[in-house]
Symmetry: C2
Subunit: 352 residues, 2 copies
């Protein structure tokens, strides 16, 4: 059985939610949407959508070195959660924690990254807070609004639905592997890692998608969480050249990393993984209505709650994401062990 509480992160979230009363006007249950959805008496046709996201581990581990990236991702991470529920952004507030008397360049770069991320999506930073702390930590909280009848959650997919990505994925894991795996940084310069929240796509999916979740924790983690929430699984067509972005394909080629790692790792990007009924799949695949670029068909929702990869060889492989999703915790932050056990898990599934 594929259970929510096989995943340590879900257990940790539940440790909080079971201690907190639930707002009766809240439309989503815990885990079930990327942003919180709240009835709004002053606008009864709409839900308010709100989400909060802290970027700290990515800075502490040295994954992000440029303040610009830190600011950019802080804004995009919370806007991506709005995209996944189909919301129109209203704005973002931020809280910046950094060492006292810190370098002007940190404020300069972080603010510029936040500003450029906002400008690229027509959104504004509304205000914020700052604190003096030993390490840098940035929090973004995005708020938006979505018509009640069209809000999208992570629940609702059905066997036979088609599953799509808004675009080719793997940039987050490719960047992470190059930066933390000891490879030449020129393979994926930090200033080329600028993932964009899929706000327009989220709007186009209102009333269309049966479920949606962003890929911020990696594509396979997203599909695994959708599997656990819905009790149905996925068969994925692993046509790597069409699924992976150019950077991920290049990093695989140059480092020898197998392509599945680009989907399985924990550092995702801000694409949306979404499902639609088979009757709409053709229209979506041909990008009818509201799409900048056509979404990418990944595969099919199946009855059985498991993720099956159909490899280019035709071979089918079941992947058990639980040990992989728990690996950061079970390897206690030892990066070498993490990368080694990551590869070993793939071999145990029959990959590479």
């Amino acid at each position: 059985m594929t259970r929510m509480d096989d995943i340590l992160e879900n257990v940790a979230i539940d440790a909080w939610t079971r201690r907190l009363s639930r707002e009766p006007r809240q439309a989503n249950a815990p885990h079930e949407s990327d942003a919180e959805l709240l009835e709004l008496q002053a606008a009864p046709e709409h839900y308010l959508a709100i989400t909060i996201d802290t970027v700290a581990e990515e800075i502490l581990t040295g994954l992000y070195l440029e303040p610009y990236t830190m600011g950019w991702v802080t804004v995009m991470a919370s806007l991506s959660d709005l995209a996944a529920v189909g919301a129109d952004p209203l704005g973002v507030v931020v809280s910046v924690s950094a060492p006292a008397g810190g370098e002007e360049s940190l404020v300069e770069g972080t603010a510029r990254g936040m500003e450029d991320a906002c400008r690229s999506l027509g959104v504004f930073i509304l205000g914020g807070d700052s604190n003096a702390t030993p390490t840098v930590s940035l929090t973004g909280c995005a708020v938006g609004i979505v018509p009640r009848t069209e809000a999208i959650t992570r629940r609702g997919l059905q066997p036979g639905d088609s599953v799509f990505l808004t675009g080719r994925a793997g940039s987050g894991n490719a960047f992470g592997l190059v930066r933390l795996g000891g490879f030449d940084g020129e393979l994926f310069p930090e200033d080329e890692y600028r993932p964009i929240a899929m706000i327009e796509a989220g709007r186009a999916l209102r009333g269309v998608a049966t479920a949606c979740m962003d890929t911020s924790d990696g594509v396979l983690t997203t599909l695994d969480q959708l599997t656990r929430l819905n009790g149905h699984g996925f068969e994925i067509d692993c046509d790597w050249a069409s699924i992976l972005c150019d950077e991920a394909l290049r990093v695989c080629e140059r480092t020898g990393a197998p392509p599945w790692m680009m989907l399985a790792g924990p550092h995702g990007e801000f694409e949306l993984a979404f499902t639609v009924p088979s009757s709409s799949a053709e229209a979506i695949a041909s990008a009818a209505g509201g799409w900048d670029s056509p979404p990418l068909r990944l595969g099919t929702v199946v009855e059985r709650p498991a993720i099956t990869l159909r490899l280019p060889s035709g071979e089918k492989v079941d992947v058990d994401m639980a040990p992989l999703r728990n690996l950061l915790e079970t390897t206690e932050g030892h990066l070498d062990r993490y990368l080694r056990e990551f590869r070993e898990l793939g071999r145990s599934w029959g990959l590479e």
Copy 2:
């Protein structure tokens, strides 16, 4: 001249805001309200009010030792900003950063503090995020809604207005002095420091107050910021027994700290300081309409942009808050120096 940029914190905020574009639908300018106010197309009679606040320094310095207090204050700090603009809270999202594999007691206590703070005001935690970081840092983001014509900002007071507090103040500084000044903790046990956001009072002040700001950074800092923003000052009647709460009076008596320190220190509480036209002052002072307990008249708005204390002796003393508000920065976190120079500033004003 009393300028905004005499205060290092204001300068630091400006370093951010001048790098960020301003949302044209935002109703408040930087510094000018406790929460951001945003036009809401779906509810054209209302503003959305949103604010973010991180509790980190209070934990790092050892000011708060109990997770319950950390959780409680995180929720109350952002709700207090909603109170100051007169908003009805819609909910709070939180981000919790703490060491990986941390104690269960941290989650337990923090969640209980957040839950109890929410329950005391009929508000809910809607969701959140968690991160593994070396030190504990808690961020709350509160969102609310306020009728457009009745939203309250920090600007608008006029000479002749009366200035009030929603209740007796000084608990934050009294608690801070006991905890960090080396006094017997029994003088102010941490579980008695449970400041409450003045949501009901904020509602009652809609369309009544000419300006409002919470006292989270201490009463005199609040009055100083209002002075700088409005270009008018205050004459304050220092009837300590009616201005200071019981805890602050007790701490003054037992530690020998002078009463003005309870208003001048940087660790406030969540009362509201607000101004009303003299024509409404009588009604406010007699608690007509919507008040649990009568507000407390502090004094009068005067033309000259300065804060004058009228002492119980009848003597008048001008206080220059700039060096005091900058003291955390200029003493670079050395607590001994901070406390010594704090007292010296008071002497230079002619106090104690």
